[in-house]
């Protein structure tokens, strides 16, 4: 019963955060709303006994990713509210209709399985400790795990290249004493 109460409280928090992200005119409020949603999802992971994934969720998403978003928002102008006038006619009504239709379709497609699905969680009790996850990750999925190493290296190199090269070739690097 306590689990149900925790779920309901944080489900409302997650939905409120998502709506704030969707509706806020100022990107800082959007970021705070998304942060609330991501933290609530970490709580759901704990409810689902995925303890290691919950810790990773808090460290990577609410820690690193949202801080990066905040840096970029501060860099490219925080006090600028979005103007809501539309340049393309009917873009907003069509967007709303498409979004509502999409939500209706996925809820309709899933509702049968969710309502009539298994009454409770599987009997073999699953505990997502670091040991259990690492056994699977480094046992079965070693090669894909090594692939993520290349992925992250390439992403870091791409980020450096995007920051370093402008339209007119490499930007000069200031050595901190005014020379380039």
């Amino acid at each position: 019963m306590a689990e149900v109460v925790v779920f309901v409280v944080f489900a409302f928090a997650a939905l409120a955060g998502a709506f704030v992200m969707l509706l806020a005119r100022n990107p800082v409020y959007s970021a705070i709303g998304l942060l609330t949603t991501m933290f609530s999802i970490a709580v759901f992971y704990v409810l689902l006994d995925a303890h290691f994934v919950a810790a990773i969720q808090v460290i990577i998403y609410t820690g690193a990713v949202m801080t990066l978003f905040m840096f970029v928002i501060m860099m490219i102008g925080v006090d600028r509210d979005e103007d809501t006038s539309e340049r393309i006619p009917y873009q907003r009504p069509i967007g709303i209709v498409l979004a509502v239709g999409f939500a209706a379709v996925i809820v309709a497609a899933g509702s049968g399985a969710w309502v009539t699905g298994s009454a409770s969680f599987a009997t073999p009790d699953l505990n997502g400790t670091i040991e259990a996850v690492a056994d699977e990750l480094f046992g079965t999925w070693t090669i894909p795990f090594l692939g993520t190493v290349f992925l992250l290296t390439i992403a870091a190199l791409g980020t450096i290249a995007l920051a370093r090269y402008g339209p007119t070739g490499p930007r000069p690097i200031d050595d901190g004493e005014g020379r380039t």
Partner: protein, 101 residues
């Protein structure tokens, strides 16, 4: 009343739809990017809920891979947004029409 995977799946479906609405309705490139992150998080939640319901750990491993890919995607995407902002001084996607013939 006990929790089942369906509760989490239903919530994840609503969060995914809200993220899709954000991509369709917002014009600020940063907020569109946050909406994509929300959609990825909703999918992660379904993975972990299915992992618990089926008693198999693979769903949590898949979630870890999705988190890694999302982190790489965020770094590159934000670098692109900053590079565009250096040239155009705007984060509004309707302003970007360089490829228009």
């Amino acid at each position: 009343m006990t929790l089942t995977a369906g509760w989490f799946m239903g919530l994840a479906a609503v969060l995914f739809a809200l993220g899709g609405a954000g991509v369709l309705l917002r014009r600020n490139a940063l907020v569109m990017f946050m909406s994509i992150e929300l959609m990825l998080n909703a999918v992660n939640l379904t993975f972990v809920a299915a992992s618990k319901a089926l008693g198999q750990i693979e769903g949590q491993v898949a979630t870890l891979f999705v988190i890694v890919v999302a982190a790489a995607e965020v770094t590159v995407g934000l670098a692109i947004i900053v590079a565009i902002f250096h040239n155009r001084a705007s984060a509004d996607v309707d302003e970007f029409a360089e490829l228009k013939g």
